[in-house]
Amino acid sequence: MNPLSILKRLHKQLPFQLFVWAGLAYLIVFSYIPMFGIIIAFKDYRISSGIEGIFTSPWSGLSHFRELIDDYNFPMLVRNTLAISILKIIFSYPIPILFAILLSEVRNVFFKRFVQTASYLPHFISWVVVTGIAYAFLSSGYGILNDLLLNLHLIAKPLDILTNPDSFWGLAVSTAIWKEAGWWTIIFLAALAGIDPSLYEAAEIDGAGRLKRILYITLPGLKSASIVVLILTIGSMLGGGLVGSNFEQAMLLGNSLNSDKSQIIQTYAFSIGLAQGRFSFATAIDLMQSVISVILIFGSNAVAKRLSGTGLF
């Protein structure tokens, strides 16, 4: 193709090209240019040296990474981050799919809409409020749940759900599912809407029951959407995956009593790095986590492609 014809084509597509370039410019300015800042992970950057300090600060090699790995908390931080993230994937990923299938089978339109709305509303509540609600319900001192169970004589002393380290992972996973599952159901409901209704009609004529229709039409119809969502989930696994919010939960629901199970890499980066103004160290921690996330995305994409022929790229 000669350059002239490329120009001609570009001219023809000018309005659409402008949209593309505006989008690209946005990405370059806000996502790519700031990436230069990553180099402070390998430098001794001080905030008082300003933006130019990013380039002029002395190099420190891998010292910040070494400091993180040498920290006595490091094994605990990695364990907690991985455990919470993996548990969230295991429990939070299938729930929106199941919920979407169940909702699609509901025949009463009013009930269906009510359930759908009620289930995705918590998505709009901030984690600060969710934490407040959790305290109001679960506090061992004044929580409604403990009051109820004590008054019903089902327990002899209050349950210490918010302060017991052993209950933190379960608390994190369950509150995240409560908050986000309904929202993600929308994606799968959209995918379900894309399935040709004639397939169901044909299956029904052939004598397939409801379970068989779900098994042989609905589930295969959700395959592509499920795989794309799974790959994205694995890519953002360390941040909490589909339901996200590892950091917010650890900061807000974590306390000095359950910190053995609630401290994660991100909260460590915040308290040791950002809160102390140690931007190089905080960047190093974040960079390490980002590299792991990129590896997970490429890895899961490759596996998904090999197993199902469907991938993100």
Binding site: P15, T163, S256
Partner: protein
């Protein structure tokens, strides 16, 4: 039709791009104008005031006050602007009107510093960050130049001087030992314990002179009021009161000229193990250690869920003010509980007002600060108009004609909070003096057990230095490990948890930190002693 649509769309995009370009150009030019004005610095300082002399507080004909941008690096600051009767009077006296911005988050100052976009004045606790020649102008240069008649107390100069030999602020809430001693009505703020008066009366007002007496009272409360917690801990003042009773100090401790980290002190261990005994005896709940917000615990106390509450020496007075409607009355445990009780004051101040490198009118800034540092200016800012808002008691403390605890009144007048950045420790303490109040009762009793050593407070590792990293890591570790000591189910387990805590601190580098601190301490103590013993 399609062609028309395309050309309109192209036109729209072109307009948007041009508008974007113009906006960015405008922003650049405004930056440039800022830079040029900041380069002028003090040279054009008198242009908009008819008599910007160095005299500071005096009646001047101020036609147009100099506007200075002032950033307050404290998200909780109750005043958001320079309004009210008192700020207006300060502006009249100095011909300076600060344009106030209060931080919306803790990282705002760091971002301003990084972007190089600094206001004229910064009010901040971040002494280490702002005491830097790249960011601030040294007081020891600007005051001799624009207000040569101002002299600062040499002890205050010493505690504010950083490693480059300059001092960039005179931090508030600090007074030298001699100032404290010269003001018998100024009582330094200490940790305190407030008790419910009605329940104490119900128990027959038992005498509380030792921790054992206190334990006995808690046991009686637990027995007679099983639904009530004998003790509620304020999350910001968990152990401080008990530390005082054991003579335990925080931070660095002078042990015969050698600096040790507080964790090693037997008194700290005793205090931690005592906290454990409180938990094991059922006087405090485990969940109390999970609370992060003091208003939450305060509400619990005010709603009648607790008998005792750890706070400051003004805890009972503040609870009495807050619980007025509920009819609850509180009293302080005013006397120290035993001969071991002691406090070593190592504070060197808090908030500083920093004149930044980008300050566009240094002369006006110095004039403004000179006034606020003067007795007349500071009292006007913090207490109001003498004779109208307050009067001097013959004994030497202010008596207010308004309620200084009433935020609505304070806000309307604009009094108190603009005096805070330049208040002295003594000045602040005098503000709290009230004959017969619970605060004063404890203040008087505790004055006897306070000694001073600000040289310890001057040992401050640089941000990002190895020592600072060790210190931060130890403190982060303590946050979680100390709770394990408090919540151990037996005394032996608590002892083991304490030993583990020390082991972890050693692993992080406590000994290295102590060696470094001891090296710093010698010369600082020598300088401090040479000034105070003159």
């Amino acid at each position: 039709m399609i062609h028309r649509y395309k050309s309109r769309l192209t036109l729209l995009m072109a307009i948007l791009l041009v508008a974007g370009g113009l906006l960015s150009a405008c922003s650049q030019s405004s930056n440039e104008s800022n830079t040029s004005s900041s380069n002028d610095n003090a040279s054009n300082s008198t242009s908009d005031t008819t008599s910007a002399s160095n005299e500071g507080a005096q009646d001047q004909t101020c036609t147009k006050p100099v506007e200075l941008s002032m950033f307050v690096d404290a998200t909780w600051y109750p005043f958001q602007d320079w309004t009210g009767e008192i700020p207006e009077m300060i502006t009249k006296a100095t011909c300076v009107k600060p344009k106030v911005t209060v931080a919306t988050d803790d990282k705002q100052l760091a971002l301003m510093v990084a972007s190089g976009d600094l206001p004229d004045l910064v009010v901040s606790f971040n002494f280490k960050l702002m005491s830097d020649a790249k960011l601030s102008l040294p007081y020891n240069e600007i005051f001799p130049k624009y207000a040569p008649d101002v002299t600062f107390d040499p002890v205050k100069v010493l505690v504010n001087t950083v490693s480059d030999g300059n001092y960039y602020a005179m931090r508030n809430d600090f007074s030298s030992e001699s100032e404290w001693k010269a003001n018998p009505y100024a009582h330094m703020m200490t940790a305190g314990l407030a008790l419910r008066k009605d329940i104490l009366e119900e128990l027959g007002n038992p005498s509380i002179r030792s921790l054992q007496d206190l334990d006995n009272v808690f046991a009686q409360v637990k027995q007679k009021h099983p639904d009530m917690m004998p003790l509620i801990l304020n999350p910001n003042w968990q152990r401080n009161y008990f530390d005082t009773q054991f003579g335990a100090q925080g931070g660095f401790v002078d042990n015969g000229g050698k600096i040790e980290y507080y964790l090693r002190q037997p008194s700290v261990k005793d205090s931690m193990l005592y906290m454990n005994s409180l938990y094991r005896n059922g006087y405090v709940t485990a969940e109390n250690f999970a609370y992060k917000n003091e208003s939450e615990t305060e509400q619990m106390v005010l709603s009648g869920k607790g008998f005792a509450y750890t706070w400051t020496y003004s805890g009972a007075d503040r609870l009495n003010a807050g619980g007025k409607d509920k009819g609850l009355q509180f009293v302080q445990v005013a006397e120290p509980l035993g001969p071991e009780a002691s406090i070593v004051s190592t504070g060197t101040g808090g908030l500083g007002v920093y004149v930044t490198k980008d300050n566009k009118n240094v002369e006006a800034s110095v004039r403004f600060l000179k006034y606020l540092f003067s007795e007349e200016g500071w009292r006007l800012a913090e207490w109001g108009v003498e004779g109208k808002d307050w009067t001097w008691n013959e004994a030497g403390y202010p008596v207010f004609n308004y309620d200084p605890q009433d935020l609505a009144v304070i806000k309307q007048k604009g009094v108190y909070w603009w005096g805070v950045p330049t208040e002295t420790g003594v000045g602040m303490a005098l503000s709290s003096f009230k004959e017969g109040s619970e605060t004063t009762r404890q203040g008087e009793a505790y004055d006897k057990i306070i000694s001073f050593n600000p040289a310890i407070g001057m040992i401050n590792p640089d941000t990002d230095s190895q020592e600072q990293i060790i210190r931060t890591n130890i403190e982060n570790m303590v946050k979680t490990e100390a709770v394990k000591v408090y919540l151990s189910s037996t005394a032996e387990e608590a002892q083991k948890a304490y030993d583990d805590l020390i082991k972890k601190a050693e692993k992080i580098g406590m000994a290295k930190l102590e060696t470094w601190a001891t090296e710093q301490y010698g010369p600082l103590k020598e300088k401090y002693d040479s000034i105070t013993k003159q």
